[in-house]
């Protein structure tokens, strides 16, 4: 059927949020929304599935902790035990308090970096990727809602105008 979408542009995030609720209540399908900044509560209003990045983050943190334990055990206990301040250098457990800061840091490091990388992969972002936003104003101060154009396009456009859009246009889907 149609490869067309209707793009409704809003100038305010509160108006956008209210519009999203109305559009969803009228059973139109929202393809995507482009915003210059994260809008609080938009994911809930759009009915998107809750993010699973928290679970991923927890797993990454656990990996970081394991890496830190293995690394410190190898460096400080197995490979090259050193006498630092007379601390027991031949047992990981006895030396553990000294390794806690490293374990903590690597947990945070792994969780943070892998989470960002996961986010990039999941959103299909990579270097030199061409921007997907259909209107450059969405990087400045406008919010764009793409609604799939099915059925009566004029009626839908008029409906979107009523929700507070400052501009409504029909465009090819890309």
């Amino acid at each position: 059927m149609s490869n067309k979408v209707i793009q409704a542009i809003y100038a305010d995030d509160d108006v956008l949020l209210a519009a999203v609720k109305k559009v969803r209540a009228a059973h139109h399908h929202i393809e995507e929304i482009y915003t210059p900044f994260p809008v609080h509560g938009l994911d809930k209003a759009m009915g998107l599935a809750p993010t699973r990045i928290a679970i991923a983050s927890f797993i990454y943190g656990c990996i970081g902790l394991c890496v830190a334990v293995a690394m410190m055990n190898y460096i400080m206990i197995e490979d090259w035990p050193q006498n630092i301040g007379g601390k027991p250098s031949f047992s990981f457990l006895d030396n553990m308090p000294a390794f806690v800061p490293i374990m903590f840091e690597l947990t945070v490091f792994f969780a943070a970096h892998l989470m960002v990388i996961t986010f990039y992969l999941r959103s299909k972002l990579w270097p030199f990727k061409e921007a997907e936003n259909p209107d450059v104003r969405t990087t400045d101060d406008h919010f764009l809602m793409e609604v799939s154009a099915s059925g009566n396009i004029e009626a839908l456009s008029a409906f979107l105008q009523e929700t507070g859009a400052v501009e409504v246009k029909v465009s090819e889907k890309h």
Partner: protein, 438 residues
């Protein structure tokens, strides 16, 4: 308006009575003579020889002859056992006072930051801080009784100990009974004055035509926070750290603060959930509970950070006069010392990490109870090693102390809650607080 249900009032009185009986038993069971003390320990050890007491507790360090002579050792044992009911009483008294002081600090921070989410909970916080003055006076009474040598919680108060101890002699300018009590009066007076006026202005704001009371509350809250940070830190040196007069830690004030802050926030959450379950505080929704639980989670981790910072630096540098503190705790208090880390860190970390669980009342209540138990143990670990050495035991006396102060706490807090409407209706942020959803 909240009405204090008879059932709860009755439970508070039952707790107090049972607590007094437990405390009384603790005091009666304390040995009067050296022979009794030896018999008690012999019973507990099934007749086996009693090991040398850790030489690093505060009593042991002041006198070299002590360790060599059996008689002085036995006398030392007697003192520890005589201290035990007092220490149990003191830990419980301090713990409940600390909860209310932590809530007062939290309340002042909400006022100063002009937080929009929390005004719905202000009356709950004000109710809890009603316990501060009576609770602090009870602690003060125990301190006075120590000062007149009714007990030996603070060995630096004993002139004979000081005469043989050069380190304490050097500190007598600060650690002497009159100055100690004067400082205590100043702290308590400052906290109680802020509590009195902020409560007064808060209630006056309900019927005011403008925001002047709100603004005055903002100003005194800001002033109070400055006073609090200094007085809380000094209070923790005086009332807790000085039971180990040789030892000091520069982050001790923060460490005690973290403990009182997280306990206070936990109690706000518990009482809010209780009131909500009884049909009060209709406007409090699970986003408010979520925020409180986030604080519980965050401050638990903050507490752990300070606990570990204090531990690791001292463990690493291994300076004899510092490290004795942890040697005593790890040798004689292994279970409560590491148990509290599990209760205060591992448990909240794992249970409250998930965002959805922070909105479930029963999760917050369950974790909250664990956190409170953990922080009771925290205070226990601060006081006991220096006062009773390895003779610690959480028995009838200690539990009695907790029950008595719990009953008193419930009675005073819920009585205070009946005194004013639970909704501060004229607070400028009340609408934002009602619509707090995310």
């Amino acid at each position: 308006m909240y009405t204090f249900s008879n059932k709860l009032r009755l439970s508070a009185f039952v707790l107090m009575i049972v607590g007094v009986l437990g405390l009384g038993y603790g005091f009666l069971a304390a040995p009067g003579t050296v022979e009794e003390a030896k018999a008690m320990v012999a019973d507990a050890h099934h007749g086996g020889g009693h090991e040398e007491v850790a030489t690093h507790d505060a009593h042991g360090t002041h006198n070299e002859e002590h360790a060599t002579h059996d008689t002085s050792h036995d006398e030392h044992l007697l003192h520890q056992l005589q201290n035990k009911p007092w220490a149990g009483l003191y830990v419980a008294a301090f713990f409940f006072m600390m909860i209310s002081l932590g809530v007062l600090a939290f309340y002042a921070i909400q006022r100063v930051s002009q937080a929009g989410w929390s005004p719905l909970l202000f009356r709950v916080m004000e109710g809890i801080t009603a316990y501060l003055l009576p609770g602090a006076i009870l602690v003060f009474v125990i301190l006075v009784l120590s000062g007149v040598h009714m007990n030996h919680l603070f060995i630096w108060m004993d002139p004979e100990v000081v005469a043989h101890d050069e380190l304490i002699q050097g500190k007598t300018g600060y650690l002497n009974v009159p100055f100690f009590l004067i400082r205590a009066v100043i702290y308590i007076a400052g906290w109680a004055a802020y509590r009195h006026f902020s409560r007064k202005f808060s209630i006056a704001q309900d019927t005011a035509d403008d925001h002047s009371y709100f603004k005055r509350n903002f100003k005194i809250s800001a002033g109070f926070l400055v006073f609090f940070l200094v007085s809380e830190s000094m209070m923790s040196w005086d009332w807790i750290m000085s039971v180990d007069p040789h030892w000091y830690s520069t982050l001790f004030g923060w460490y005690v603060f973290a403990s009182m802050f997280v306990s206070g926030i936990t109690v706000i959450a518990l009482i809010t959930i209780y009131l909500k379950s009884r049909g009060y505080l209709e406007e409090v929704n699970n986003s408010h509970i979520h925020d409180l639980a986030k604080f519980m989670f965050g401050i638990s981790i903050f507490w752990t950070y300070l606990w570990f910072s204090q531990f690791m630096l001292i463990w690493y540098s291994n300076i004899p006069e510092e490290v004795t503190y942890f040697v005593t705790r790890i040798e004689d208090y292994k279970l409560p010392f590491f148990g509290m880390v599990v209760l205060n860190f591992v448990f909240p970390l794992l249970v409250l990490m998930n965002s959805d669980y922070k909105r479930l009342n029963w999760f917050v209540v369950m974790t909250g109870i664990m956190i409170l138990l953990g922080h009771y143990l925290d205070i226990y670990n601060m006081i006991m090693p220096a006062t009773v050495g390895d003779q610690w035991f959480i028995g009838i006396g200690e539990v009695g102390g907790v029950l008595f102060f719990l009953g008193l706490f419930i009675f005073i807090v819920f009585t205070a809650l009946t005194k004013a409407p639970l909704l501060p209706k004229r607070n400028p942020f009340i609408e934002e607080s009602k619509h707090f959803h995310y």
